[in-house]
């Protein structure tokens, strides 16, 4: 089964259970882990996780340690840290590493739920973006070198005649390449072409 998943990691049984039950009230699937290493061992969870609710101080691998491991694995997951120790340096480190939020235990459970939802939405958006980007990229990759040249001329706002002159080919050849580009990139108009190319460039940045 695939789909968004919220993962809760906390070594305290009652906290873990209560957070699981709480997040389930959002109607989201939740998986709970007593240690950070258990998360790393669950490939399915790593694949689907949209939000990690992570205790900072745990035996074995700490929450911040897990955050670093995930970063090295290239898995960008919004992480909400929860800690019974709100030490300033710890918060600083977690936030610097890109934590989505940091909540001190005990917290207003509604704040946690709101932040979990936001995190899940962010993750979903990120996944869509990257899926779309992968799709666009594969389409761009299907272009021949000559088609790519013509596409760049089109995006650069040059007329067919100018593109023909630039590339030293006939107008007719430009028109053929042009329709092939539109077809391969699955766009109906020049405007749409420009939009996806610009957007993909921005995503890559």
């Amino acid at each position: 089964m695939s789909g968004p998943l919220v993962c809760v990691v906390d070594d305290d049984d009652a906290v873990r259970l209560s957070m699981g039950l709480l997040i389930e009230t959002l109607g989201l699937p939740v998986r709970c882990f007593p240690t950070a290493l258990d998360v790393l061992a669950d490939g399915d969870a790593l694949e689907r996780v949209h939000c990690l609710v992570l205790d900072v101080r745990m035996p074995g691998l700490s929450g911040v340690g897990l955050q670093e491991r995930l970063g090295k694995l290239g898995r960008v997951v919004p992480i909400i840290f929860v800690s019974a120790h709100g030490d300033v340096p710890m918060v600083a480190r977690a936030m610097r590493e890109g934590a989505f939020d940091f909540l001190q235990k005990p917290f207003n459970e509604q704040v946690l739920l709101d932040r979990v939802l936001e995190a899940v939405q962010l993750a979903a958006r990120r996944r869509q973006e990257s899926a779309w980007l992968a799709n666009v990229q594969s389409r761009l990759d299907s272009l021949t070198a000559r088609e790519r040249d013509v596409m760049e001329g089109m995006v650069g706002g040059r007329l067919n005649k100018q593109i023909a002159e630039d590339l030293g080919i006939s107008m007719k050849t430009v028109e053929q390449h042009r329709s092939r580009v539109m077809e391969k990139l699955q766009v109906d108009s020049l405007a749409e072409l420009v939009r996806i190319v610009v957007r993909s460039c921005r995503q890559e940045d």
Partner: protein, 506 residues
């Protein structure tokens, strides 16, 4: 040399007593007033010194020291007049070598004519110089002794238990502030001027010695001085005279002004108490820190479970309405308990100070960064005015961050009710004596009356959910760094909290 012109009956007896006198060191001076001739014993030079040449018999009256001359000659005159039965005097005479000599003279008119006019006057002179020197020495050493006692800060008193009169030294009078030398009674001083709290102790010390239970009276007490204030004095006294039955007659002793020492002791005692209090606070901090994690876990679960229950209650609709309110309260109280734990814990880290050179501006910037979340939630803007090129301070960065974040949080809270722009200024600058000062300035409503007198006192708080340890622990931290934390000002337009830390180089 035999005196000439004496009466014809000198006889053996006279020669004998003259010899006896000479052997005792006395010079005999035999004056015939009828013809003015003088006969003098051989030892004249021994007594009067070398002013006389060998064989010369000048008049001793010419040698008199100016200070005594008038007095001595007056007495001699009175004796010759018969208005004085005997001539007695002590005087100085000039001497060729050394200082003046002290001479003791005793004389008598031994013969008068029918009209009562003196005919013969005999006197003996004795050299008192050495004896006088001994007396002077004794008096000087007595003065020295007194001087030594007083120089040591001891004032003297001499109390007659018979008359009750007490003689006190000038320095005693100076302590009490008595300007004049009027006579005093022991009762005027004790118990009259004793501090009520010391009265029983002081009188017990006197009684114990008077009753023979103690070898001396030794007691410290406060004595009221002339300006009405009390000074701490240390008294020592001893009975110096008793009557035949052993009843004490006279007591002599010293008092020493130990006021400053006493104040010092009290100050030290206060400092010790402060330290103990600080230690207790740190202990509380550590304990709380350790407990916080354990407590926060069940509190989190409690809050979460009640949250879950509340949400499931929604599914029951109206049926769950009566349970909802108490359930909400459980949820609220769980958070409140957590707040209290948070406030108490974490200010003072276990293991004490980890001091290293720290750039204060860096501490300010990092703390402000962490506080941004909360500031934004309360619509508070930070304005930083940080001085360039400040020296480093020797400090535990984490503890400084805790202090600053606490001051910032207080500043944010102070502005929660004001309608206008909420600005929290943080300034750093180089203060006097090379200290680095940081000021946190809010534009809130100022300190509440309840905490204004001592906002740093533990458990002083105006926050409904506060425990009032924040500033107390902040101050402990700053003071542990050899610095100072204070309220620069607090008015209806805002408060300024400052702390100063010594620079790392200093």
């Amino acid at each position: 040399m035999m005196p000439s012109g004496l009466t014809e009956d000198p006889g053996l007896a006279e020669a004998s007593w003259r010899l006896a006198l000479e052997a005792a060191g006395d010079c005999v001076w035999d004056w015939n007033l009828r013809d003015g001739r003088v006969a003098c014993s051989e030892n004249l030079r021994e007594v009067f010194g070398d002013l006389f040449a060998e064989g010369e018999v000048p008049d001793w009256r010419d040698l008199l020291h100016a200070d005594e001359r008038r007095e001595v000659l007056g007495r001699l005159e009175a004796c010759l007049d018969d208005s004085l039965a005997a001539f007695e005097a002590e005087f100085r005479v000039r001497c060729r070598s050394g200082g003046p000599r002290w001479i003791s003279a005793r004389g008598k008119v031994v013969a008068r004519d029918e009209a009562g006019r003196p005919e013969r006057f005999i006197a003996t002179f004795r050299d008192l110089t050495a004896a006088r020197a001994r007396i002077d020495h004794l008096q000087a050493s007595a003065r020295l002794w007194q001087f030594a006692l007083e120089g040591h800060g001891d004032a003297l008193w001499d109390w007659s238990l018979v008359t009750g009169e007490i003689d006190v030294s000038p320095s005693f009078r100076a302590i009490v502030g008595w300007q004049d030398g009027r006579p005093l009674c022991g009762n005027d001083i004790w118990p009259e001027r004793l501090h009520p709290d010391d009265l029983r102790k002081a009188m017990a010390a006197f009684s114990a010695h008077l009753a023979g239970d103690r070898p001396i009276t030794e007691v410290e007490f406060r004595l009221r001085v002339e300006d009405g204030s009390y000074r701490w004095l240390a008294l020592r006294g001893k009975i110096m005279e008793r009557d035949a039955d052993g009843r004490p007659l006279r007591m002599i002793g010293t008092v020493r002004d130990v006021h400053d020492r006493y104040l010092g002791i009290e100050r030290e005692k206060r400092q010790e108490q402060e330290l103990a209090r600080a230690a207790r606070l740190i202990h509380v901090g550590e304990m709380a820190s350790a407990l916080a994690h354990e407590l926060n876990q069940p509190l989190t679960a409690l809050r979460n479970f009640s949250g879950v229950a509340l949400r499931r209650l929604e599914e029951l609709g109206a049926a769950g309405a009566r349970i909802r309110e108490p359930l909400k309260m459980i949820a609220e109280q769980a958070l409140r308990a957590g707040e209290i734990v948070h406030r108490v814990r974490g200010f003072v880290r276990k293991g004490g100070l980890v001091a290293a050179p720290v750039a204060i501006n860096g501490v300010v910037r990092s703390t402000v960064r962490f506080a941004e979340f909360e500031a934004r939630a309360h619509a508070v803007h930070f304005v930083l005015e940080l001085a360039d090129a400040l020296p480093m301070v020797q400090a535990d960065q984490v503890q400084l961050e805790q202090v600053l974040s606490n001051l910032i949080k207080n500043g944010i809270d102070a502005m929660s009710a004001i309608p206008g722009e909420r600005i929290l200024q943080i300034r750093s600058r180089l203060g006097a004596d090379g200290v680095v000062e940081v000021a946190v300035i809010d534009c809130g409503e100022g300190l509440a009356e309840a905490v204004r007198s001592d906002p740093f006192a533990p458990f002083a708080t105006t926050k409904p959910d506060g425990v009032g340890l924040g500033l107390a622990i902040c101050r402990t931290i700053i003071e542990n760094h050899g610095g100072r934390l204070w309220v620069e000002s607090s008015t209806a337009r805002g408060s300024t909290f400052c702390f100063a830390l010594p620079s790392a180089a200093a």
